[in-house]
Amino acid sequence: MSELSQAAVKATAPRALRKINTRALMIEGRALLALLLIVVVFSLLSPNFLSADNLIVMTRHVAMNAILAIGMLLVILNGGIDLSVGSIVGLSGVIAGMLLEGLKLNSLDLFVYPAVWVVIVVSLGVGTLAGWVNGVVVTRLKVAPFIATLGMLYVARGIALLITNGTPFSKLNGQAGLGNTGFLTFLKSSPLGLPMPVWAMILFAVVFAVVLSKSPFGRWLYATGGNERAAELSGVPVKKVKTRIYVLSGLCAAAVGLLLTADLSSATPAAGEFFELNAIAAVVIGGAALSGGRGTIRGTLIGAFVIGFLVDGLVLVGVSQFWQQIIKGAVIIIAVALDQLQQTLQKRRSAKAALSPPKPSERMTAPV
């Protein structure tokens, strides 16, 4: 009996594997097709679209949304949502700006100018901390993720506004004498011709793709998103996983905060407003299910490129900002509607396939 089933396993495993991969490919393939369509249409409309310079500029725009979307994907894989990432972008940027301009210690009546690496670490730390608070509120206080992160959206933005008192920090160059130069030059540099945000995107994408596919944490994340109760009874540390994803989402947002601050050469408290929505859109276009358990880094990246290239392309060919919004919205809805349609078709097709009589080799392995 066991030999039989084992033989069956060996015989049919590659086919089953291929089936699953084609399915994943089709979901991503749809987004990829959309991306291709965008590239073709805009390169026909504007000769500049496909120029190397423009591609780099666009990818640079895509990069920040992509990093946010990677963090968002983690949260969405769990079945949650993180509305606070845009505000965390603003907050961590403001923290960096404040530290670069010099921290005034009233009691000692002196200014402290931390080194650039300290600035980066502290800013990332603040974003991560905000994410941790999200995670704790969701797991310990059992507040729904939508509400918990909605609250953080206001709180983080409020703190950024308090710190700046409404006016941006713009002296981010530092002074050689104080030893805090290099923030802008480092983050605005382009090693090997690629801007820093693009490198950051590549780094985040590779690291998280590996974590999701190879680490127990990644598997736990898919499991909790697929069926949290079953995961918990299987010994998956559900709360730890959940807290961690909000922490990581906060970290991603803080990184974007730094990159954006450098990009704008100014730390403004309003930076990153509505970024969370673009991030969610990228994740969804990339084929992730909002109910959790389904989605990939690759798909999310493609989703971010679809949105970024679409918006930049529309700008390039001179479509008004108002129309841009309408088109972007329509693309998001169409993407998800297609996803649903495809799943329906898939079910119908497998039903049809089952109608044809099974081959003798399949009979044995057919469910009983």
């Binding site: 594997l17 680490s215 598997r219 499991a223 079953a230 995961a231 299987s234 010994g235 389904r294």
Partner: protein
């Protein structure tokens, strides 16, 4: 077959299913079934789980549409694309699962989707209430129409489900396991109602796992096996052994009473355990239970639904709060440990509801199998936080062959498996963690007899290697044939212990308090 329908001597056939097939993905649930329902008669469907009975009933009730074939009502071909269309034609169904809104009252549930209209199109609550009161009188149940369904116990919820179907005044009434949560007196009332209905010309289609009960009330018997209708007979001509023989089609009886028993030291020791009922009200679901399970021993927890068995095993697994008491695993106190830590220490639960608590439906067979032991499968050096693909694959292969899962491969979606094989995956997942004690809550629910036998032989095999097993069951036959010791629980307490080799069914069932439960009015409001 259906040409015969025109002949006058068969005019009592109200409904006919012709050459019905049904596919769910790759699974063929029905393979060309022809089936008749007779006016004023009870037609009983026999068959193991997964034989296709429920699927056929869903098709007749308009819940599912057949892949091919059609239905004839009074000799006329009909198409049902929704349950409402079936109801309009006088076909209603009492589903196996409860389909009630717990946040709404009994009255609202009974009239859901077809509210009575009063003045200006508002809901006629008073009229609805009267109807519900009459239904409850008929079912001899003291439930106020305004009671929230969430406040009723499961048996009463099933009564509400029955009342809802009765409220439709159907000509054809399908009952899919209507008595599964009912007490004996409640079931008696239902049988009276059925007699009443057939007397008025209503055709009843009845499905039950209680074979004796079903034979008793049937006029016609129909047996399903593997999606095919394999036998029909008049009730007068059949008996239990005929039904079982047709259902199984082969001798698949299992009996482990004579299995050798090597008992070791105490593996699991429970002392004065109390668990508070999760639904609140300060009731104790488990009340002062003390129990030892030894290595190599298989202990069966028998009792009625709501006896506190599920709460007990869930508390042992680390889910839900323990009010007081002490649990030791191999001498180590388990207090304050999480589910994950307990699995590490060697005690895991195979939960009652496979779909809700046991499986991650979005993952593959292999991923489900390895889910509990991922940390052991990480690489031993260099990057210790990553899963070793080779070791995982080997572990999954071992798991699949050890619990004998029939699957297209480790990468196949878990949803492509039959119920029995899914359950083997859930059990395999726990066995791969190398447990000392395995807890199983209704491990054979919704599984065909063949798979049941396989699961128990697996458990007895593991027990011989020293595994301690504590499992919950509501099937008396199973309790007797597949355990070393039977512990009967009732109302949160351990009532008695039995040796399955010497105890009789009657003794055990009496100890579980089967005959007195229905009398207690629990949660029935009396406004």
């Amino acid at each position: 077959m259906f040409r015969e329908a025109a002949s006058p001597d068969r005019s009592d056939v109200v409904l006919r299913a012709v050459d019905i097939t049904k596919h769910y993905g790759a699974t063929q649930a029905l393979k060309g079934v022809n089936f008749e329902v007779h006016r004023g008669k009870v037609t009983v469907l026999f068959g193991e789980n997964g034989a296709g009975k429920s699927t056929l009933m869903k098709i007749i009730a308009g819940v599912e549409s057949p892949t091919s074939g059609h239905l004839e009502l009074d000799g006329e071909r009909i198409e049902l694309s929704s349950p409402n269309q079936a109801v309009e034609r006088g076909i209603s169904i009492i589903h196996q699962e409860l389909n009630l809104c717990p946040n709404m009252s009994v009255r609202d549930n009974i009239f859901i989707g077809r509210e009575r209209r009063g003045l200006f199109g508002t809901v006629d609550y008073r009229g609805e209430r009267k109807v519900v009161q009459r239904l409850m009188e008929r079912l001899e149940e003291d439930i106020d129409p305004n009671t929230l369904v969430a406040d009723l116990r499961i048996g009463q919820q099933q009564i509400v489900e029955i009342a809802r179907a009765l409220a439709l005044d159907a000509r054809i009434l399908i009952m899919d396991e209507p008595t599964s949560a009912l007490s004996a007196p409640e079931a008696e009332v239902l049988f009276k109602v059925i007699k009443d209905l057939t007397g008025n010309g209503v055709a009843i289609v009845y499905i039950s796992h209680h074979l004796e009960e079903a034979i008793e009330i049937s006029d016609h018997a129909v047996v399903f096996r593997d999606g095919e209708l394999v036998a029909t007979a008049d009730a007068a001509d059949i008996d239990l052994s005929w039904v079982v023989g047709k259902m199984v089609g082969r001798a698949a009886e299992y009996d482990f009473r004579d299995a050798e028993r090597d008992r070791g030291d105490v593996a699991l020791s429970i002392r004065n355990l109390k668990v508070v009922d999760a639904t609140g009200e300060g009731r104790l679901a488990v009340n002062d239970v003390s129990l030892d399970v030894r290595y190599g021993e298989i202990v069966c927890l028998y009792g009625l639904m709501g006896a506190g068995r599920t709460e007990l095993v869930e508390a042992l697994a680390g889910r839900g709060g323990i009010a007081s008491g002490r649990v030791e695993l191999g001498g180590r106190d388990l207090s304050g440990t999480s589910i994950a830590e307990r699995i590490d220490l060697g005690i895991g639960l195979v939960p009652e509801d496979r779909q809700r608590d046991g499986l991650v439906q979005s993952m593959s067979v292999g991923q489900n199998l390895s889910l509990s032991s991922l940390l052991e499968l990480t690489r031993s050096f260099v990057v210790s936080s990553f899963i070793s693909r080779g070791r995982e694959a080997a572990r999954i292969r071992d798991g699949i062959s050890e619990v004998r899962v029939k699957t297209a491969g480790p990468a196949a979606p878990i949803t492509s498996l039959s119920g029995g094989n899914q359950q083997k995956v859930v059990i395999g997942k726990m066995l791969l963690t190398g447990p000392k004690v395995l807890l199983l809550d209704e491990p054979t629910r919704g599984i065909d007899v063949g798979a049941k036998g396989e699961i128990f032989s697996l458990l007895f095999r593991e027990a011989r290697k020293g595994l301690a097993v504590l499992y919950v069951t509501s099937e008396i036959g199973e309790a007797i044939t597949a355990s070393h010791r039977i512990v009967v629980m009732s109302k949160g307490r351990v009532i008695r212990e039995f040796d399955p080799r010497t105890a009789s069914r009657e003794e055990i069932m009496a100890a579980s308090g089967e005959s007195e439960v229905g009398i207690q009015p629990m949660g029935t409001a009396s406004e």
